[in-house]
Symmetry: D2
Subunit: 137 residues, 4 copies
């Protein structure tokens, strides 16, 4: 398993009239979280796209346990639980500043060749970078 963490401070515009972070805004937090997870592995999401490989989200699910509020500094733990094949799966836990897990989420992304608009297997570079974290003896 490969795991990283990032901190995100809640912006005013991301709250709603309940005073909570709007439920739809976590998707963007998780996008930031997975892009930084890849970056820490030496993989640039932007470069991947520029080389003609898109990674649209195929499935996304989230379970909310508690709300986040304006100006909270959230900690998002991101995990790549298995070696990517046709899909790359990320698991996220969001913690508030008291260390309480406030939601748990998952995304599965597919690799798409921009030219053909067809699914392709995970690029070699992803496999090389992730391999060390999934060694079995």
């Amino acid at each position: 398993m490969y795991s990283t963490e990032i901190k995100i401070r809640v912006r005013y515009g991301e709250t709603d009239r309940m005073g909570y972070v709007y439920y739809g805004n976590y998707a963007e937090y998780f996008e930031v979280a997975r892009v930084e997870a890849l970056r820490s592995l030496g993989l640039s999401y932007k470069d991947t796209e520029d080389k003609g490989i898109l990674l649209p989200v195929h499935t996304y699910d989230i379970k909310f346990l508690a709300p986040a509020h304006y100006d909270d500094e959230l900690l998002i733990k991101t995990h790549i639980i298995e070696m990517p094949r046709a899909r790359i799966r990320f698991r996220y836990e969001t913690l508030n500043s008291e260390g309480v897990v406030i939601n748990i989420a998952n995304t599965a992304l597919v690799f798409i060749d921009k030219e053909s608009n067809k699914p392709i297997p995970a690029p070699e570079l992803f496999l090389i970078k992730l391999q060390p974290y999934f060694q079995t003896t």
Copy 2:
């Protein structure tokens, strides 16, 4: 079962550099869809909040089958599949202008008393309005 439909035209700011509707923006479409589903039943989401009952989202999941693009007029079919109790569940299908289902999603919302910040059962008015659609013989 209670079902309604709404049309939503994709705004420019809702697209991303892939040219697709950003995956996080569907949450807002579904919020609009369920609010209109309730309105068509004679239930105002805003009035419910103003009376002290919040309806935060507890779980949300979505499966993407195809992307939507700028200026597309999407049709969202919203279904309330069961009588609400502690939770009210909505199911959504988004169709593009060719009638193709491009994603399927679910949300479960909980009823929270604003004062106590505790879960409460579905308000009487919700039950009265929805009862006719869940008659069993």
Copy 3:
């Protein structure tokens, strides 16, 4: 002068913890407003882009007189005050459901050739469609 109107209902995710529409979200309302103004003239913003002409915003200003709230049905009046040349200028007034003007805004957009990435004059079709509204005797 060419003028049109559209109605936009405030979405929950567009409010902030003050209970107001977040100040940044009006930019998207005005984008919808000017796209619909063009559509009512027989001009498709999407087609313009697909033909290789981009219309990025060059300047934007807004003066807030009063807030909008969740579920409000806003009326946006859009005006094209002069014939476009290098720029096309739109003026907007947002009214709440009591008919009170809650903000006034302006945008100037430039025509950019996608290939060369350089400014170009307003396309012929824009001039033809707008000419009747700027006839002088």
Copy 4:
């Protein structure tokens, strides 16, 4: 004059199908920029609100010189040019990673008493914290 800087990395969801940061999203960047400017002065925007003083935006204007793109790390320079009275004014310059100014913006915010919903002068604490930067001899 009081000046600070922050860095903001462009999120995927903030781009549009032109591949640029959507013009409406800068408002949120500037909100983050001014909140951090206040924080660096020892002023918490959140605490100010919690004490019953709201700071809604009264005017906002922006001039775009060049676009920002996905994953760019932007530098926003924020300036408080004059002592606040009824309003507090912020000026912003956004620079891309090559150090090029890509836009210039201004916001004026008003101080509103939450209870009375009426404008009030800048709170004492704002004046105390800002005074040292506006000393005249």
